[in-house]
Symmetry: C2
């Protein structure tokens, strides 16, 4: 992309390192700068050549960059925006990879000057592993990336960010930050709470008997606790609303089972089964279940 001569990634974890590696693989002539405040991460990143350069000077790292990507925990974003704000070149685009989007948009609106374009990004990629040593240049292949914009978003900047993720291998969808946070609460944040609640409702004696079904149902509960704590805090209203919706559905089952109303129980089960079948069919049709 001729618009992107240099990109900077703030935070060299699994995601950050995979972005710089992906840029080095997919963009010819684009420089990929990495920033990390950890000496060990910088050293590992250099040994593994995950970026063109890795620096410990955050303001220096964004100097002359066309695109700056925040890949640190979400609650560090606002301070980072404050720190880099006047070191950014005019017309620079800033994005991030946070799992919630309303707060990042709010922070950017507050902390960035008018001549800097902020676009939200949420690439749905990662793994249970953490750290730059797990970075891969193909982490984003076939992943979905949500790009969030508002009516005041600079369209040229939005298109550059969308093409950036497409070039890294993503299928891009655009949403408003509000829609993003509501949808991802329902299909990601609330299921995470559910998986954790299900494990916590069991004792270790019972878990000895758990089979593949239980293991699958609770797999997402093995994500890093601190990152998910941030996600719930940054999307608390939607998460609470989502938990209430699930409790309401659980209560429907409870009431029907208690009343011995088999017809109602079967109807609730059938509804869930049919919805899931339709979802899977649609994903197969859209080729989203290939990876």
């Amino acid at each position: 992309m001729k618009e992107l001569k240099q990109i900077t990634v703030i935070g060299m974890g699994l995601l950050g390192g995979s972005i710089t590696l992906g840029v080095l693989r997919n963009f010819s002539g684009t420089k990929a700068i990495g920033y990390s405040h950890r000496a060990k991460t910088r050293q590992k990143g250099r040994v593994l050549s995950v970026a063109s350069e890795i620096t410990d000077d955050i303001r220096d790292s964004v100097y002359k960059s066309d695109l700056v990507i925040l890949a640190t925990p979400i609650y560090t974003f606002e301070q980072i925006l404050i720190d880099i704000s006047d070191a950014l070149s005019k017309g620079c685009i800033v994005t991030d990879v946070g799992s919630t989007k309303l707060f990042p948009h709010q922070w950017a609106r507050k902390q960035l000057p008018k001549h800097i374009h902020y676009i939200g990004s949420h690439p749905i990629a990662g793994s249970e592993q953490r750290g730059v040593e797990y970075a891969r240049d193909d982490l984003f292949d076939l992943a979905t990336c949500i790009v969030t914009t508002t009516p005041t978003t600079n369209r040229r900047a939005a298109d550059i960010v969308k093409r950036f993720w497409i070039k890294l291998g993503c299928a891009v969808k655009e949403l408003t930050p509000a829609d993003h946070d509501r949808i991802y609460s329902d299909i990601s944040h609330v299921p995470h709470v559910l998986a954790a609640a299900l494990i916590n409702a069991n004792n270790s004696k019972t878990l000895e008997f758990a089979g593949k079904g239980f293991i699958d149902t609770t797999r997402i509960a093995s994500g890093p606790a601190n990152i998910w704590t941030d996600v719930f805090a940054a999307n608390s209203k939607n998460t609470i609303k989502g938990i209430n919706k699930v409790i309401a559905e659980l209560t429907k089952f409870k009431t029907a089972i208690k009343a011995g109303d088999r017809k109602k129980v079967e109807q609730l089960l059938k509804k869930a089964r049919d919805k899931r079948t339709a979802m899977i069919k649609q994903k197969i049709r859209k080729r989203e279940l290939l990876s």
Copy 2:
């Protein structure tokens, strides 16, 4: 096994057909009789040679059998026991493959004469497929099979049933029917309700964005609605208790998120993560995650 010259399986679905096929593979000289009330199933079963004989006469099917296995939906068990009761040979062992065990024990106590030994079985095997055409002689390889007994159970009969499942490839664990129903409510029936409730709490527009995490979390909700309706009805007290436990855990999360108590949220998430990690480690150590 020299004790088992002839076994009968009532119901030739995926499980029933896989049992007779497994007997034909693993037991030399044992006759495997199948019963089905459906002409189509009998025909398919004969074409696929899943049993030594397949008959439509239920009383005839159990004649001279040493072991009779009920592999029909759980709510047909009591009527079947009534129908076959006085056609069973003296000393015959009766078992079943139902997903709940308190009711089958109760029905057997009520309907079978003293000289017939009832033992409960719950082989944790199967797939999303249904029907005799999916029967496989290796369906039980590496599966867990719970065998349920009470203080009045005939020990010799229990040992024969345990060895029967081991010979089909299962790892056998023995429980009381009450412990079985409580444990399987927590690790199988309640997770099923949860998966269905999670899908029902979402609309199809939102489900378009569902990724691998959501798909895994809800996979078990694709089981057959009528069979699960029976399971919840046959284990209603435990299921209701289990749903309440999960709602209590969800409420802990909700309260902590609402209060902005990040320390508490992180602690709840960490507890779930640590419990799941311990569970997986134990299963790897016990070689239960090989299949």
